[in-house]
């Protein structure tokens, strides 16, 4: 009974706190140039991914709050906060690399690639929830300002990570009696529709994105003598 009650609460509250987006709003011009082997992509549990994103986002919030603080004590912890953010982000990138959702030399579009595979495997795209975890962000911010230790912040972030997937598989949702666009009365909207149109860039031809040899334009006469400041020295 309790479980059912909890489930109902979750089912009702989650859509209210977060909004679904179709996270495959790819840049068509870039996507055209990037070869993605859909079969290579692994579909990891969405919860694991969402937790990883939430973790680096909150860790960044903590770092950023410390950076903007004028309290020397708080600022003193900046380095540890940054380390935590970098670690959290590195974990996320690792996950993406493992699942073939990201390659360093290609434009990033992890959710879009995930959905390609999802589409191929399950016939539909997964609906990701747009949430910036506002309340948790505020909480982390306040804790940092109050001088909490980086360990305490890390623990709080871990505790605040979602326990159930925030995104929805339309097929599962349909099975549960929810329409892909959200159940009645949940206030589902499609916010991705109203502000993503400007993401589309005009298509220009010519690319070598998939070739490992970089396109080398004519060097300009730079005074440093090198036409590229950070040419890898390795």
């Amino acid at each position: 009974m309790k479980k059912l009650f909890l489930f109902l609460i979750l089912a009702l509250c989650l859509p209210m706190t977060s909004q679904p987006v179709m996270a495959d709003d790819e840049n068509p011009a870039i996507e055209k140039e990037v070869k993605v082997d859909v079969d290579e992509i692994k579909l990891r549990s969405p919860l694991e991914i969402e937790q990883a994103v939430m973790e680096y986002m909150l860790a960044f919030e903590a770092y950023q709050s410390a950076r903007k603080s004028s309290d020397p004590e708080v600022r003193g912890k900046m380095v540890q906060y940054m380390k935590q953010y970098r670690e959290a982000y590195a974990r996320f990138l690792d996950m993406m690399r493992e699942d073939n959702l990201y390659e360093p030399q290609k434009p990033k579009n992890p959710a879009g690639r995930y959905n390609r595979k999802h589409m191929k495997q399950k016939g539909s795209k997964r609906q990701w929830r747009a949430t910036a975890a506002r309340q948790t962000r505020e909480k982390v911010k306040k804790m940092v300002e109050a001088g909490a230790s980086p360990e305490a912040i890390k623990a709080t972030i871990k505790e605040s990570l979602p326990a159930a997937p925030m995104s929805v598989d339309p097929m599962d949702a349909a099975g549960l009696g929810q329409s892909p666009a959200g159940g009645p009365g949940t206030g589902f909207t499609r916010p991705g529709d109203d502000d993503d149109d400007d993401d589309k860039t005009t298509s220009k031809t010519g690319s070598n994105l998939d070739s490992k040899i970089p396109y080398k334009p004519k060097p300009i006469d730079g005074p440093s003598g090198s036409h590229h400041p950070h040419k890898p020295k390795h």
Binding site: V79, M82, S224, H230
Partner: protein, 172 residues
Amino acid sequence: MSMYRLFKNYRGRAAFTMVEIMVGATILAVIGGMVAHWFVMQRQYQKRILAISDAQQNIRQASWNMIQELRTARNLIYPRLNADKSIRSDTKTIFKNFSGDIVCYFHDAATGQIRRCLIPNGPGAPVVDKKPVGSGIDKVAFTAHDIGNRLVGIYLESSGTVGLESVYLLNE
């Protein structure tokens, strides 16, 4: 009239006379002396100007080379604020660059050069770049200004000309 005479008549002469040369040389000596004096004065002025110009050039070049890499670096490893949170300067700086490798700029007072050493953040031996990032630099100070290790002040002095730069390391 022979051809020679004709020529001599036409030209009027075959060479300068002693008197001509002496008078000419005297006047030239006076003019030459004035020019030489003026020239020496100008050379001294030029040397001063050139020294300033060279110094500026050295400072700009060193700044430009270092700023470009530092701007996209990840964090400063050395120097760092003192225990009492006061700023700290040194003649070298060490940081993690865009690729996460360890880079050091150090001043070699004997040659007046700033050299770059790349220390792989992983297996591999350190390599000092053949070309210096700066030359003709008399004094260098890299100063840590920020507790977050992302702001480094650069003081460069070359023949009395000073450059005061700072770089904020942009990469989160």
